[in-house]
């Protein structure tokens, strides 16, 4: 699942058939940049010609300039810091809970009967529908924001890790019994590594939801962070700052996804040779 679904979908260049310089950018890759750049140019042209009013959407050049300016005066860095802290805290709490519950449910019948029904029921609740309750419970400070991120992270991690544990090849479990491995060794050497690929899928899904939950949560009367920066800009019709905020959110999402992909490549290197 690592790079698999994407990389397998692409026709793999066969060594020997079409020898290529390994790192030279391929024409196909360059070709994929043409249309996004054209859209950007068109957007800039429409803005410069006055056909796209700044009130609706700022020009790319303006947005870039605003970005540099807000970075220089520290506003952007501070907002990113606050938002990343919320996301990280929520992710850690939710991740620990999700994986912990998956272990409890995955490693035994009693645990499964205790944990899984509750998780399946809670999973059906709409995450963002809980915001009013969260405000009643936790007020409008940091807690509801971190809590919402954590809750969004719990379910994909739980579901995937649980499925991963249960999906471990039973024949390998027999090997463990024949080799006289104890329960602890069985879990450490067979169950956890076997569940890891699926758990990493859950990790990627949950990171996506973490950012989404953060963006929504930061609309709740935030007084700092990227969401606050965007909301504030809306009041002054500063579409350049709004778009800048969105771009930063997107970049953060892509960055964490890249980290997980790197993690996958390291942790699942035993499959890499097989996928390549």
């Amino acid at each position: 699942m690592s790079t698999s679904s994407l990389d397998l979908a692409r026709p793999a260049p066969r060594a020997g058939l079409a020898p290529r310089a390994p790192r030279a950018p391929r024409p196909a890759v360059l070709a994929r940049w043409i249309s996004p750049l054209a859209v950007l140019v068109l957007w800039q042209a429409l803005s410069s010609a006055g056909l796209l009013p700044e009130r609706l959407l700022a020009a790319p050049v303006t947005i870039a300039a605003t970005g540099v300016e807000l970075f220089r005066d520290g506003t952007l860095t501070e907002a990113i810091g606050v938002s990343v802290r919320r996301a990280a805290l929520g992710f850690l709490l939710g991740g620990a809970a999700g994986i912990g519950l998956a272990l409890v449910a995955g490693l035994g019948r009693i645990g499964e009967n205790a944990v899984d029904p509750i998780m399946q029921m809670l999973r059906a609740l709409p995450l963002f529908g809980l915001i009013p309750l969260f405000i009643l419970w936790f007020g409008i400070g940091e807690t509801p924001k971190v809590g919402l991120v954590a809750l969004g992270v719990v379910f994909p991690l739980y579901l995937n890790t649980f499925a991963g544990i249960r999906g471990v090849d039973g024949r390998l479990g027999e090997v463990a019994r024949v080799l006289d491995l104890g329960r602890g060794a069985l879990i450490r050497h067979v169950v956890l590594p076997g569940a890891l690929p699926q758990a990493l899928v859950g990790l990627r899904q949950s990171l996506g939801i973490a950012w989404l939950a953060l963006i929504v949560a930061e609309q709740i009367n935030a007084s700092s962070g990227l969401g606050f920066m965007i909301n504030n800009a809306r009041e002054f019709l500063r579409t350049d700052i709004v778009v800048l905020g969105l771009v930063v959110y997107a970049a953060l999402g892509l960055a964490t996804d890249a980290v997980v992909r790197l993690l996958e490549r390291k942790a699942l290197s035993w499959r890499a040779t097989f996928l390549r």
Binding site: L172, V178, L179, D180, L181, A185, W270, R271
Partner: protein, 247 residues
């Protein structure tokens, strides 16, 4: 030639007495008696579904039989198993797979020793998914062997290999058996394989041992030996195969 087997000399490493096993209302094993002597090489033949793997799994302690049905299995000593599929943990390198669960002081060195014996030491650091079928089966043999078993259970370990690799593996197994002398139970559906390797060949049919032959020839055996040709037709007939086709 049936039932002309002399009594076992020496003590037994495994005895199965009156062992029965039912799955639902289907009786797979119905009062099986088998004795495997220390250092004896026994082959167990049978058609698919005859229960030969069930018997092996019972000896391996893998049979989740309800209490009361487990009676009749006694193994004296260490048991190791090599399955039909190599069943290596794909996330552990070959050496770690072989060393897994070893309680000796230096598992890595022991694993290397076993890998050297099966001729796979140069792939000790490889990921299992990069091994060929024969190499993976060698690793699986090394993992069984490194435990110095008194009873080695082989569940059709060569059936998925190509003919040439299978011949090499036969030699390897004989070689290892002669060096370490574990008792071996080889479950197979290949009559020639049983005749080339085993001291004694059992045929499982109708839930019981339907036939038993001792192969009193020195190894390495040649498959065209007249004695083996005789035995082969007897065994094939027991298995329901005649020269004209299936009975």
């Amino acid at each position: 030639m049936a039932r002309d087997v002399p009594a076992l000399t020496g003590e037994a490493v495994a005895t199965v007495t009156g062992f029965s096993r039912r799955f639902g209302d289907r009786t797979v094993l119905d009062g099986v008696d088998v004795t495997i002597g220390r250092g004896e090489f026994v082959a167990l033949l049978g058609r698919s579904g005859s229960g030969k793997s069930t018997l092996l799994r019972a000896l391996a302690g893998l049979d989740p039989a309800p209490a009361g049905e487990r009676d009749g299995i006694a193994v004296d000593g260490t048991v190791a198993v090599a399955f039909q599929e190599p069943r290596l943990l794909p996330w552990k390198r070959v050496r770690a797979n072989v060393a897994l669960g070893l309680r000796t002081p230096d598992p890595g060195a022991a694993a290397d020793g076993a890998l050297t014996e099966v001729g796979l030491i140069d792939r000790a650091g490889a990921w299992p998914l990069t091994l060929s079928g024969g190499e993976a089966q060698r690793a699986s043999l090394a993992r069984a062997l490194v435990r110095r078993p008194d009873l080695l259970l082989l569940d059709e370990p060569f059936s998925a290999l190509d003919a040439l690799t299978r011949i090499t593996m036969h030699r390897l197994v004989l070689d290892l058996w002669e060096r370490h002398r574990p008792g071996i139970l080889l479950v197979t559906h290949d009559v020639d394989e049983a005749l080339l390797l085993a001291d004694r060949v059992l045929v499982l049919d109708g839930g019981r041992i339907a036939h038993e032959s001792r192969v009193g020839l020195d190894r390495p055996r040649h498959r065209d030996h007249p004695h083996l040709l005789d035995l082969r037709s007897t065994l094939l007939a027991t298995l329901g195969v005649t020269p004209e086709g299936t009975a």
